[in-house]
């Protein structure tokens, strides 16, 4: 296995429009790094540059200690699983899996051994003589994985391999892929647009937007310490609430003013945002940070009256939607207490876990 390093990597197509801008990233040996972002953010382009299927306009790519910018895909010792699997339709499953080994002139006996090992691992032993058109989506996906696994590459690349599967199969395959990666201890770069997939699979996640890396961190940190509004809104479901606010000073306290209500920031956060007092900022609250105050006698600070527009009852919890600063926001609340559409209820904000962002740059100023 090998480390992967991108150093100031850029990609420009005709017209000099940068699709990928100055990517600096290191994927550690044996790590599963997920590239996530909206469509067109440059994640697949970056993956394809690692594979050698796209030329790197500027910057350096290292696999292990080698600079591989000019190295052809077949000499990079990588394996790739494509979004639509790219199985050779006229070949059997056995021949599909063996193709790469035959191309590298591996002895026949060794090919047979490796193919059978991969087939057993991926439960394909009874499918080896079938052609791709006779397989289900999940089986085709396993054949694509098998084709990559047999080559024992330094780095595995996955380009949205689960996006063509139905939701149930996707969940099942996610777990299987992760188990396989942990078993093989391989360095993996995994591209997806699904943030749930990213959060559940990655050791670390690289969030991209418009060709630029927004943040590279563990799933936990991305969720709890987003560097900017894009990361805060992209990671987490339902989406985080990001509303207009103002910071006001009240003696030694810093208050966040949202509409006509004021919310006290804890001291640690207040110290970090002091220089923004008097300015307009953005306040981010995840849905679970907005709590429904059921017992009106209970003394809580940081409370606000909000009118509920829509409610989704999921059984174990409820999602309630309400307008705030002209935006539709959502709170995740428990199943206690009745909620009626069109009525106002008291909610309190967990300001310990909120984030404050600079309104112009979108950067988190409360970390």
């Amino acid at each position: 296995m090998a480390q992967l390093k991108l150093e100031n990597v850029c990609k420009a197509y005709t017209g000099k429009i940068l699709t990928v801008k100055d990517v600096n990233l290191q994927v550690n040996d044996g790590e599963l790094m997920v590239f996530v972002g909206p469509s067109g953010c440059g994640k697949s382009t970056t993956l394809r540059m690692i594979a050698g299927l796209e030329e790197i306009t500027s910057g350096k790519l290292y696999i292990g200690n080698r600079v591989v910018n000019s190295v052809t895909p077949k000499d990079r010792n990588i394996a790739m699983v494509f979004q639509n699997y790219a199985l050779y339709p006229h070949m059997t499953v056995y021949d599909n899996i063996a193709f790469g080994l035959r191309s590298q002139k591996v002895p026949k006996g060794e090919i047979d051994k490796r193919v059978m090992e991969a087939a057993e691992m991926l439960v394909l032993t009874d499918k080896l003589q079938k052609k791709p058109k006779h397989l289900s989506g999940g089986e085709r996906q396993r054949v694509a994985v098998g084709r990559a696994v047999v080559r024992k590459p330094e780095v595995f690349l996955f380009d949205e391999p689960l996006s063509n599967l139905d939701a149930t199969l996707r969940e099942k395959m996610r777990v299987q892929l992760r188990q396989l990666q942990l078993k093989l201890k391989t360095t993996v770069v995994y591209v997806t647009h699904d943030q749930v997939e990213a959060m559940t699979m990655g050791d670390r996640i690289c969030v991209m937007n418009k060709g630029v890396i927004q943040q590279v961190d563990t799933p936990h940190n991305l969720y709890n310490k987003p560097k900017n509004t894009f990361v805060a809104k992209f990671i987490g479901s339902p989406q985080a609430n990001v509303v207009d606010a103002q910071l006001v000073q009240d003696n030694d306290k810093v208050l966040v003013k949202i509409e006509n209500s004021q919310f006290e920031l804890p001291k640690e956060k207040a110290d970090k945002v002091k220089k923004y007092v008097g300015k307009s900022v953005l306040c981010c609250l995840r849905p679970e940070m907005i709590n429904h105050v059921v017992d009106q006698e209970c003394q809580v600070i940081n409370k606000i009256q909000l009118e509920v527009n829509v409610m989704e009852d999921l059984g174990h919890e409820r999602l309630v939607y309400f307008p705030l600063t002209g935006k539709e926001c959502v709170a995740r609340i428990g199943s206690r207490g009745s909620i009626e559409i069109g009525k106002k209820y008291t909610f309190c904000f967990d300001m310990e876990r909120c984030h404050i962002f600079d309104k112009d740059s979108g950067e988190n100023i409360s970390l």
Binding site: G52, L53, A79, G100, S103
Partner: protein, 274 residues
């Protein structure tokens, strides 16, 4: 009722078109069994009794079977070489980026607009320089470059082979030639077979090029042999001519019958959008 009438009208029209296509062939075969006098007397749909005489007439005057053999050799070679070369060219146009690619493809397409006769003198001169004049190789080389085949296969390849397949093969470690032979070619086969068959038929009937290049009677193609029957000034043995033409098209009919499924699959496959 209205639906049945429309259906009947469509069938009647199709039968009419079928008859228009088939009747000339039938009459040609029938006339091959009649004498020249009978043919001059008028049209008949009933076979005559001059088959053996006409056959003796052809075989005594001409070397029909040598002509058939030469043409079969040339056309089979052209079929294989032209479809392979067109396939390779189309593959490069679809899956590779290189300078002047568009210009090259434009030149290939532009050559479609030039009639064969225009290039004859230049090709004749080239054959002399290459010392291949009066050889079957000269006919094969001329037929091997198939611009229409390149155009058709480019469209076909784009529709049946996704780029991801080629990229997967590259990542798998295959060389570019291996990718063509092991991945692309098997998938392009129906299209290449269609091109090959059409090349076969076109070159089977080709007369002007063999006439220009070939001078040795033992190397004559079937079209040249048939035309010898026509060259008698005083008497034209029409029965023998018709029989000769009928014999000359039998191989083409066999090819069409045997490969009709391949032709249809090749044409239809090119129309499927992936």
């Amino acid at each position: 009722m209205k639906h049945s009438l429309i259906k009947l009208a469509i069938y009647a029209f199709l039968v009419g078109v079928l008859l228009i296509c088939i009747v000339p062939f039938y009459l040609m075969i029938v006339n091959g069994t009649r004498s020249a006098a009978d043919i001059n007397a008028g049209v008949s749909f009933i076979p005559g009794s001059y088959l053996v005489q006409n056959f003796k007439s052809i075989t005594s005057q001409l070397n029909m079977f040598t002509g058939l053999r030469n043409t079969a050799v040339v056309c089979t070679a052209i079929m294989i070489v032209s479809s392979y070369v067109a396939g390779l060219t189309a593959f490069s146009i679809v899956f590779y980026e290189y300078r002047f690619k568009k210009l090259l493809f434009g030149i290939i397409l532009a050559s479609l607009m030039l009639p064969q006769a225009l290039g004859l003198i230049g090709y004749f001169d080239l054959c002399i320089k290459l010392n291949i004049l009066d050889t079957l190789s000269a006919l094969i080389f001329a037929g091997a470059a198939n611009a229409a085949g390149v155009f058709f296969l480019k469209q076909y390849t784009q529709s049946v082979i996704p780029l991801a397949l080629i990229q997967a093969a590259r990542v798998d470690g295959a060389s570019e030639l291996r990718i063509f032979h092991r991945i692309a070619l098997p998938m392009m086969l129906p299209g290449m077979a269609s091109i090959g068959i059409f090349s076969f038929v076109f070159n089977w009937n080709n007369y002007i090029l063999p006439l220009t290049i070939i001078s040795t009677p033992e190397k004559y193609t079937i079209s040249m042999i048939i035309n010898q029957l026509n060259s008698t000034v005083y008497f034209r043995d029409f029965g023998a001519i018709y029989l000769g033409i009928a014999i000359s098209i039998i191989p083409i009919l066999v090819v069409f019958v045997l490969f009709s499924k391949v032709i249809i699959k090749g044409i239809a496959g090119g129309s499927i959008d992936k």
